[in-house]
Amino acid sequence: MKGLPVLCLLLWMSAVYLVGIYLFVGGFLLVRLEVNRTSTCSDLLEPAGGSGDFCQGQPRFKRTVILIIDALKIDFARFDPSKTAPRPYENKLPVLEEVVSSRPSQSRLYPFRADPPTTTMQRIKGFTTGSLPTFVDVGNNFASSAILEDNLIHQLGQTGRHVVFMGDDTWESLFPKKFHRSLPFPSFNVKDLHTVDNGILRHLYTTMMGDDWDVLVAHFLGVDHCGHRFGPDHPAMAEKLTQMDGVIRSVIERLQNDTLLVVMGDHGMTDTGDHGGESLKETDAALFLYSPTPVFPDPHSQTDLVPTLALLLGIPIPYSNVGRSSYRYFIKKGPAGAVEGLSQLEALWINAKQVNRFLETYSSMARDIPPQRLSQLKDEFSRLSSAYLSSLREGRSPPPQLASSLQAYLTSVRDTCRSTWARFNPVKMAAGLAILALACLMCLVLSELSQVLIKGSGLGLKAPTALALAVGVVVAAAQLLTQGYVEEIWCLAAGAFSSELLFFWRARRLNTVTVSKNGTKASKFSRWLTPRRLLVAPLLIPLLRCASLLSDSYVIAEGRVVTFLVFSLVLYIPIQLNWNGLLLPPSPDPLKSAGLLPPSALSPSTVRKEGATLLGFVGLLISTLYLSLSFHGCREEQGSCQPSSFLYPLSRMQDNQLKNLHYVLSVISLGIFTHLLRRFLCHYGNLNSSGGTVFTARWILPLLSVCLGLHWAVSATSEDSFRNLAELIRVAQLALPRAAFCLLGLGLSLIWLDPITVFVKTRAAASSRAPALPTPRYRASTGISPQAELHHLIPQIYQHMRRSLDDGELSGAAEEPNRPTVEAYGLGTVYSAPLLLFCGLLGVGLLLLHPEGMAASFLLLLLEMAALLHIHASSSTLCGLHGTYSGGFHVPWTPVVLWSLAATQFFHATGHLPTFPSIQWGAAFVGFPDGHTGTLLPASLVTLNTFASHILFAVGCPLLLFWPLVCEVRGSGGGRACGEEVGDAVMEMRLRENPHQFSSSLLQLSARYLFLHGAQVFSSVCAAAILRRHLMVWKVFAPKLMFEVSGFLMSSIFLLIGVTLVLRVDGAVARWFKNLVPDASR
């Protein structure tokens, strides 16, 4: 068979997908590295000769009250008395206007520009750290949401201020244990408008009257929730804003002279009450500052608040801040009696120096800021600093334009950072979407045209690759010429896009050529686009699945939804077979059967048996589906959900009896898992030879299971129960999993190196039945071995005749009546046996990374795989029996759809969820209880754990091709492919007889599998693109996108591994035949 073209086409397809994904994600998921350094009081930020301790000076304000009103849009805060009929959200905060007009020197109201993403958590992060948080801030602690970057709250704590917090409990998770006192209230329920606000109001005034605080933060959520629930244009909003008006009034009444009041919104809202994006309505929040003593601050942007507040409160500016302090406040030595503070220029200088220091640190860690821009900024800073320092040294007053240049410098730094971190890149997103859509279409075309492609060597990959390379280089050159630097992402995109277009063009031409050659066959290409062919159940289900990714509720309930869809499609199979009259043996009514069905190849008992098998396996599949539901975890959005008790490792279980029960259950499941695998191999005679694969099946697999069982036992024993064995337990905890890893590696590589599982037994010519036989090209049968044969084995015997293989000598065949024959055990499953063993071994290995209880779920996974394979085999046999089998080895859509849905289903049934908190971090410590030094190993362990089911189903995907052959019904060969003689089971040897069909079916199967996963990626990409303003985008859609993308990546990698393994087996079988021929002839 043609292995290389298949592999190359698949590789190229996955590569195109990945380029599309990379492009989209590059425009959508903005990634920023966290700099985990903190500023301290002793930082030498002040000009040379500073005191050395920054925090000694007298701060401008002793206390600050920060009232955050979530989603307080600037429109809400403005007051326009001329409006006679204000909308519900207008003119409801008159207090701000009253104060500003009556005490202009003490108060200011500003629009407060937030940076996207305008979601509460990112905004809180933004206005405490002064940086521009993105959706993914890659820090060293991915699991918890705590802010590790330097921030105001941390600095306040460092300098001994008491920060009291009340309100939205997001703060508590962002700043765990950072507050002197905190009163968090649950923020999750969007429909609840009052819990948080009323909770704050119960404590706000008493706290203000008290004396144990320096900074008071109160975060009200009512306005935001009201927006989400009713939208801004609703009486409830008026009510809520009026309440806030009252709150601000009473807080102002209670303010003391040394206190600053900050009232602000973290972001705005759209006309529908949502936020998250970058439109002006979402970004323009309100900021109101008031102090009983005069102030003139002038901030514009949210990040600016951080340095301003920090310098006002006399604490160091947080390390990662890129905001600009509002220089106007820092008047140089105010009139007599005014509080001493920093001068305008000093403040700016400190700020600039801090920003420059951050830029240096950041650029040494990450390269996402364009290097040119970076060096420009650096030069600018050194110029400014030398000017400032020299003027300082010489004692003359600095040039007047220095302040404004410092400001310009700070602004340009902030703009640079913003364009890097805080903007979606719509062009990249659109390009990624286009490439992905074309890639999906390409997969579909490829799967339909696979036969033509493989047969007519028409679609070489050389031209697309060459074109892609050429276009990529051209784009790179053009970029170099116009911009001066290369953005490789666009080169990749251009390459992928051009190769896609070339593919379509050639596919079209190829199609028309084939049409002109033989009109009947190649109408295929145009035919599959008709709605009648697309609107069938097996394609409707994936369509529904993709559509479900566009709704947050469905993504939240994904596990159930997928199970529902699988169940529907499984029920559809027997119903459809019955509809076509294939499920039951035709009625004895002679009139009917004579007229409608071909009389050949019908044997009612076979039909009945196959029908019963099919229904039996449908039953098995349904029960595994139902049982798998009990292994699901819970998202936080699912209120009343109870996570499965199997999700917790045994060591955490308190009840000893329950623990033992769980342990026994897990071990039994593992035992059955192993036994079933061996049983299959044994049944088809694959355990007789002495190759590497057989060694793996006989020894390594059981040993691995034993290792696993012991490991569970050891890790489940509590430390104090066997005190004297503590050392031993510790060693075992280290050694057992590592031994398992080694065994796994050994087993997998043995299978890879020596995949042949055929045992050859040469028969003496005399005992051979060959003379009695006609001279078919091949003859293979089961069960002719006498009882003396290896007892429990039912060997597949492939009686190989030398001459029939060797066409050149065919003429002499009749002259040798007594030629020796060869029995080959396990030849019938020569392809599926190593693949299945590989899959099973991988399954046990992946189970090692899961909590013990998941063993049962892995067993269900194996059973479901088996049930799917058998249903597929039975239904294609039933179709074949009635002569409606389409011929060839093509796998229809239904089993492939089921296979890909099952991968998602078991993603959930192994306790995973598409959310970051649900990642099972424990997997990284299996075999490495003391942690790691690098990040690669733990990351790959966690990835393997998370995508275990994707991996297993992808590797096992080619089994779908083999199974109908494995379960081939003897005596029915006639209904099969190419007019084989009726009589004997040739099983997978059929594949060798039709190498073209084999490779085209393999290509088709893989392309279909990739298409189904690619379509899911495409729809979740669409969801993220369309719903980027949605309330749930960062909670539901973006994590879902990342999981879907990673799942696709793992699926495609392991699909390629599976296909490569099949190709290796094919090569090994070919070699084996070559060796056999001279042997037998001698």
Binding site: K191, S551, D552, S553, Y554, I556, A557, R560, V561, T563, F564, F567, S568, I575, N578, W579, N580, G581, L584, S587, L591, K592, L596, I622, L625, Y626, L629
Partner: protein, 219 residues
């Protein structure tokens, strides 16, 4: 060619639909606070009862129900008994399927069972009326060449519509809209009812438009 039978079918379906309408409207007169959402189970049983009663009477009057060869009372009684048994078994079957589809197992067993009763009375009841208590025949009817009369084709269409309706009725359940009709099993039973009504309309229409192509073998 089929004009007579189609006319009979249309009037039958009109009767059934009218009875369902009455079952929705009439109890509101007698029962305080009756509504499809709030007193859903009551509505559901009213509808099921109405459909069962009307179909039995109409199909018996029309003579669609296969006539028994033997006219002994014992045989008739045993047929009746078997019909009741099949009705109950079908309820259990639908209940199991619905539970496997993801309905809660214990919590709202009554609601689930009521849905099963509704589904049974919309689908199995018709099978019983048209084909008699004969599972073999039921399975045979649902194949491409299985229909042996206009009524069989009509049965195929209505049953398929009902089941698809109930299946689609499950779609709104996960959505977080908090509407009264999202409560289990309201959406599914509404879906089944709407599907059934669609089937009642679609079946005669479809048969009317395809009457040229329809050929049936005699029983």
């Amino acid at each position: 060619m089929w004009d007579h039978e189609i006319r009979a079918m249309v009037s039958t379906h009109a009767l059934i639909a009218a009875s369902m309408f009455m079952a929705t409207v009439l109890p509101a007169v007698f029962v305080e606070g009756f509504s499809v959402y709030r007193t859903h189970l009551l509505w559901l049983y009213c509808t099921s009862g109405a459909v069962i009663a009307v179909s039995v009477v109409v199909f018996w009057l029309l003579g669609v129900t296969p006539s028994t060869k033997k006219h002994t009372l014992g045989y008739k009684l045993s047929r009746l008994f078997r019909s009741c048994l099949y009705f109950f078994l079908s309820c259990l079957f639908f209940h199991t399927v619905v539970v496997l589809y993801g309905a809660p197992l214990i919590e709202s067993a009554l609601e689930t069972f009521s849905l099963a009763v509704l589904l049974t009375s919309l689908t199995t009841m018709r099978c019983l009326c048209v084909l008699g208590p004969n599972v073999q025949a039921w399975i045979r009817v649902f194949s491409r060449h299985g229909a042996m009369s206009v009524w069989d084709t009509c049965l195929q269409i209505t049953v398929a519509c009902t089941l698809i309706g109930a299946w689609m009725g499950a779609f709104p359940i996960p959505l977080d809209w908090d509407r009264p009709w999202q409560v289990w099993p309201v959406s599914c039973s509404l879906g089944a009812t709407i599907g059934y009504l669609t089937g009642l309309v679609a079946a005669p229409a479809w048969i009317h438009y395809h009457r040229k192509h329809l050929t049936y073998k005699c029983k």
